[in-house]
C-alpha cells in the first residue's frame, strides 16, 4: 500500500506531446479514477505510472520513492488490461502463478496465494481451464486475480469493464468496489464511462487533452464543476448550457438576462465579472422544473421514456434544453411546455469556460441526488 505522486509529468511520443504536465497526489488506499474522452491520455498516464512507457519529464513517486527509472516489476504495481492480456496457452492457475514463479516464492506459497485469490473472485472451479474456454467476465476475473496474487502496493486498471456487456459490467463494478473495500489497496482506474467513475471513485481526475481539468470527489465534480468541460462531462444526461449575458451584480449574486427574455438571479460569487459580459449558464436536466406559470417556454421536440423517469428535449428558441421529470411523460412531441430554472442549481461559466465560485463555497446546494426528487423546488 502506498501513495502515488506525479510531479509535473510530461509525455511525448516523438514530437507529439500527449501529457502536458500533470500534478497529482493519490493517497494511500485511495480509489482514484481517471476519466475523460477517448484519446485524452488516460491510458498513457496509467502506463507511465506502470512503467510501460518512459516519462519524458517530471517525477513519479510511489511510496515516497522516485521510480521514473525503475522497471515495472520493481514498482510494486499490478495492472489489469482492457484486453485481459491472459497468456492464451496457460490455464487459469498458471496464468495467475506465472508471475510469482520468479519472485522466489515457494511452490506451496504460490499455491496458497493463487487459491486464495481464486476463492476471493469465485473462479476456483475454473483453475484448469484455458482462457479461450472462459467467458469475458470470467477472463476479467482471472486478470484481476493475476493482479491480486502479486500483492501490489498499487493496482492499475485500464478500462477493465469496457469489453463486458451491460449487466456484467454493473456486477463486476460492484465486485471491484468490494475488492477495494476488503483490500484497502491504492487503486488507479481508467475509464471513459462517467457512471463507473462516479460509482467507484473516492476521487475522480477529469482529464482532457493531456491535462487535468479537475480533481475531486464524485459529488464535488457533480455539484461544483470547475469549468464547462467538467460540467459537460460529468452527469448524464449532459448539463444544459444556455448562453446569456450578465445583467447586473449583487452581493453573492449574478443577475443574468436569458435569451428568451427575462432575468435570473444566480447565487454565485461575481468574482470580477462585469455587466454586459457574455457568460454561459449551466443547469442539469433534473433542475429544470415544468410548471404552467413558468417564465420560460419551448416546443417539445423529442420524448425519451426511461420508465422511472423521462426526458423531454425542448427547443427553447436559443438552443435545445433537456428536462428530466419523474414517471411517464405527460407531454407530446409538438406541444408547448413552460418551465423554470431552479436558480440554486444554476452554474455560471465565464467565456474562458471557468466556473464562477458558488456562494457558499461549502457543501452542495441542497442535498439532491442525480436520480431526481420531485420535491425539489
Amino acid at each position: 500500500m502506498a501513495d502515488v505522486v506525479l510531479k509535473n509529468v510530461h509525455k511525448s511520443f516523438g514530437r507529439t506531446a500527449v501529457i502536458h504536465g500533470v500534478d497529482l497526489h493519490v493517497r494511500d488506499g485511495e480509489f482514484v479514477v481517471f476519466v475523460g474522452p477517448s484519446g485524452c491520455g488516460k491510458s498513457t498516464l496509467l502506463r507511465l505510472i506502470a512503467g510501460l512507457e518512459d516519462i519524458t519529464a517530471g517525477d513519479l513517486l510511489i511510496d515516497g520513492q522516485r521510480v521514473n527509472d525503475l522497471a515495472p516489476a520493481r514498482r510494486g504495481i499490478a495492472m489489469v488490461f482492457q484486453s485481459y492480456a491472459l497468456y492464451p496457452h496457460m490455464n487459469v492457475y498458471d496464468n495467475m502463478a506465472f508471475g510469482l514463479e520468479l519472485a522466489k516464492s515457494s511452490k506451496a506459497e504460490i499455491d496458497r496465494k493463487v487459491r486464495e485469490a481464486a476463492r476471493l473472485l469465485q473462479i476456483e472451479q475454473l483453475l484448469d481451464r484455458k482462457p479461450r474456454q472462459l467467458s469475458g467476465g470470467q477472463r476479467q476475473r482471472v486478470a484481476i486475480g493475476r493482479a491480486i496474487v502479486r500483492e501490489p502496493k498499487v493496482f492499475l486498471f485500464d478500462e477493465p469493464l469496457s469489453n463486458l456487456d451491460a449487466a456484467l459490467r454493473v456486477q463486476t463494478r460492484i465486485e471491484i468496489a468490494k475488492l477495494h473495500n476488503d483490500m484497502r489497496a491504492t487503486m488507479i482506474y481508467v475509464t471513459h464511462d462517467q457512471v463507473e467513475a462516479m460509482t467507484l471513485a473516492d476521487r475522480i481526475v477529469v482529464l482532457n487533452g493531456g491535462r487535468i481539468e479537475q480533481v475531486g470527489t464524485p459529488l464535488d465534480l457533480y455539484h461544483r464543476p470547475a469549468n464547462l468541460f467538467v460540467a459537460g462531462f460529468i452527469g448524464s444526461p449532459q448539463m444544459n448550457f444556455v448562453p446569456c449575458q450578465v445583467a447586473g451584480l449583487g452581493p453573492g449574486e449574478v443577475l443574468v438576462s436569458l435569451p428568451g427574455g427575462g432575468t435570473l438571479a444566480v447565487p454565485v460569487q461575481p468574482d470580477g465579472v462585469t455587466t454586459g459580459e457574455p457568460v454561459t449558464l449551466g443547469i442539469r436536466p433534473d433542475h429544470v422544473r415544468i410548471r404552467s406559470e413558468g417564465a420560460l417556454g419551448g416546443r417539445v421536440e423529442l420524448v425519451e421514456e426511461l420508465g422511472e423517469n423521462h426526458l423531454l428535449h425542448v427547443d427553447a428558441g436559443q438552443g435545445r434544453l433537456t428536462i428530466r421529470e419523474p414517471g411517464d411523460a405527460r407531454h407530446e412531441v409538438g406541444s408547448t411546455v413552460r418551465f423554470d430554472l431552479t436558480r440554486e442549481f444554476c452554474h455560471l461559466f465565464r467565456r474562458s469556460g471557468e466556473a464562477l465560485p458558488s456562494r457558499t463555497g461549502a457543501a452542495s446546494p441542497a442535498p439532491s441526488s442525480p436520480n431526481l426528487s420531485s420535491s425539489a423546488a
Partner: protein, 323 residues
C-alpha cells in the same frame, strides 16, 4: 495435405446424416464443386506420375525401350538369385545415400530453425530500416539453387576460391582445403550453403507467426517481471509452435529431396550422393527405370514416414490455433 483440408470442409456430424436440410445439401454440393478442379489437377500432376512410378518399380523397364517391360514383383527391391540377395535394399550405395540425406536434413533444418528464430526475433523488433532488412535477407532464397550452388562451388574452390584465400590470410588453415571434394567436408559445405539459402525462408515464416501474437501479454509479462529469456521459452515459443512445426516440415520435405545443391557442389560424387541423386543415377545414367522407380518410391515412403513422425511428435494438427 490438400485433400485432408478438403475433407475437413465437407465432413458432416454423424447425427445430422439423413436429416440434412436442403440448404446443407446444396452447401455440400457447392463445396465439392469448388474443390473438384483442384482435386482433378492434383490427380493429374501428382497422382498419375506417382502411380506410374510405383508401377514401374515393380517392372524391369529400361529407358531404351519404355514400352517393352515385364512385371517382376518386388525383385527391384529385394530378390534372391541362387542364394544371393540382390536389389535396392541390399545396395550399400543406396543406404549410404539415405544416410547422407537424413543427416543433411537433420543438420541443416536444425541450424536453419535456430537461426531462423533468431533472425525472426531480430526482424520483429522495431528498428529503422526494418522493411529493407526483410527484403535483403530474402535475396539468397530468391537465387535459383543451381546458381547459388555454382557460386559457392567457386568460392569454395581449392585453388581459386575466396574462402581458402581468406582463411589462409587469417592463418586459420595452413594449406588450401578441398572443401567440396573431400567427403568429410563436402556435406558440411552443402549444409552451409543450404543454411545460407534457406534461413531467410524459415525466418519469414516464423516472423509471420510472431506478428500474429497479441502484444498485451508481453506487457503483462513485463509488469510481472518475467525475464526476456523466460518470456521467449514460456510464452513466445509455445505460441509459435504450430507455425514453427509447419515451417520445419516444409523445410524437411525440401531437404529430403535435395538434389541440385549436392549434385552441383560435389560434382556428382558417390560419397556424398543424396537419395534423389541415387535415383537419378539409376534412371538416367544406368537407364534402369525399374530400379530408379523403386528408389523413388522408397524416397516417397521415407519422406511420408518422417512427416508423420514429426507431426505426431509435435502433437499439433496443422492449422490448429493454440489459443
Amino acid at each position: 495435405m490438400t485433400s485432408a483440408v478438403a475433407q475437413g470442409n465437407v465432413s458432416v456430424p454423424q447425427q445430422a446424416r439423413g436429416r440434412r436440410s436442403s440448404l446443407t445439401r446444396s452447401r455440400i454440393r457447392s463445396a465439392w464443386a469448388f474443390i473438384a478442379p483442384s482435386l482433378i489437377i492434383l490427380a493429374l500432376i501428382a497422382g498419375w506420375p506417382l502411380a506410374r512410378t510405383i508401377w514401374f518399380s515393380f517392372t524391369d523397364a529400361n529407358l531404351n525401350n519404355l514400352s517393352d517391360y515385364e512385371f517382376i514383383g518386388f525383385e527391384n527391391y529385394l530378390a534372391n538369385y541362387d542364394g544371393e540377395w540382390l536389389g535396392l535394399l541390399t545396395d550399400p550405395d543406396w543406404w549410404h545415400s539415405v544416410w547422407n540425406t537424413v543427416w543433411f536434413t537433420l543438420v541443416s533444418v536444425s541450424i536453419e530453425t535456430v537461426l531462423g528464430i533468431i533472425v525472426a526475433l531480430i526482424l520483429n523488433a522495431a528498428f529503422p530500416g526494418r522493411g529493407l532488412m526483410r527484403a535483403i535477407i530474402l535475396i539468397p532464397w530468391a537465387i535459383p539453387t543451381i546458381v547459388s550452388a555454382k557460386m559457392w562451388n567457386w568460392m569454395l574452390h581449392d585453388q581459386f576460391g575466396v574462402i581458402n584465400d581468406l582463411l589462409l590470410r587469417l592463418g586459420l588453415i595452413a594449406a588450401p582445403m578441398t572443401w567440396t571434394a573431400n567427403a568429410d567436408t563436402a556435406l558440411w559445405a552443402a549444409v552451409m550453403v543450404d543454411v545460407w539459402k534457406h534461413t531467410s525462408f524459415m525466418a519469414l515464416l516464423i516472423l509471420a507467426a510472431l506478428q500474429m501474437l497479441p502484444q498485451d501479454i508481453y506487457e503483462a509479462a513485463k509488469v510481472d517481471g518475467v525475464s526476456p529469456i523466460r518470456v521467449f521459452f514460456r510464452i513466445t515459443l509455445p505460441l509459435i509452435k504450430p507455425a514453427l512445426l509447419v515451417a520445419v516440415i516444409f523445410r524437411s520435405l525440401d531437404a529430403l529431396r535435395v538434389f541440385d545443391l549436392i549434385y552441383v557442389l560435389t560434382s556428382n560424387a558417390r560419397d556424398t550422393a543424396s537419395m534423389s541423386i541415387y535415383a537419378r543415377q539409376q534412371l538416367v545414367d544406368f537407364q534402369e527405370v525399374g530400379l530408379g522407380s523403386a528408389a523413388s518410391t522408397l524416397i516417397f515412403l521415407i519422406i511420408a514416414i518422417i512427416v508423420v513422425i514429426t507431426l505426431a511428435a509435435g502433437r499439433v494438427r496443422l492449422g490448429e490455433d493454440p489459443r
